[in-house]
Amino acid sequence: MFGIERTATNTPDEGTGTPVENGPPPADNTPLRATVVIRNPQGLHMRPAMMFARIATRYRSSVTVRAKDRAVNGKSLLNLMTLAALPGTELELEVSGEDAATALPVLSKALAAPSADDIGPLLN
């Protein structure tokens, strides 16, 4: 469902909306990335986006969600809603920071969840 790879690039957040503090820059500048396909039949609507942002803010790492043509702050509900990601949309998740390795699998699972109810347990 999603692959994890290391890359050496670090693209700045180009999100819009109310600024939400993202995490500190990574110490070694090597973000972790995963490609995630939206499986929720209603797309990334408000509730899953809110739950994803809530999980993302628990990590110190910066969390960026990238669609084809733009990148947004994954800790911001409003930023995520501007993606209007339909079912089947491929998104790239990028996590940079000291807890990136812990965060990436959890955030990938949350983003790929078929229902907001499936994200609930990840919040615990």
Partner: protein
Amino acid sequence: MKNFLVRDALVPSLAATTKEGAIRELVTALQRAGYFKPHEVDPVVSEILRREGLGSTGIGRGVAIPHSRHEGLPRLIGTLGLSKAGIPFDSIDGQDVRLVFLLVSRPDQPGPHLHALETIVRVSESDEFLNRLMAAGSRDEMWELIQNTPDPWARE
């Protein structure tokens, strides 16, 4: 916005002072505009309130987007109510809500709903737009502003 907001259901001055009251007032406005039958108002209000119970749709900056899905609609419909006094809404920033965008979508059409959410989020980033909307004293003034505001995502 002009594609999903129903002109005849716009409410320039909400009488309600509570979340539930505002939602009921706006669903009733959609019903009077011909989009629901009278007996559908209660179930639609209940469904929107159930959704609010899962997490407030108050997105901050005085804006809320209560919503639900409903079978049998011709398309996504929505309306907007303005509250000069502000309504407690459990918003993410704790602020009372002054602009309530209420959406009811077809269960089988997530695309228009996602684009409507995106549009509302993006236009809400503009202080000028929010202030001008709040200054509207009539349905016609609200509609003129809505009509003259292009959907931000459509420009890309």
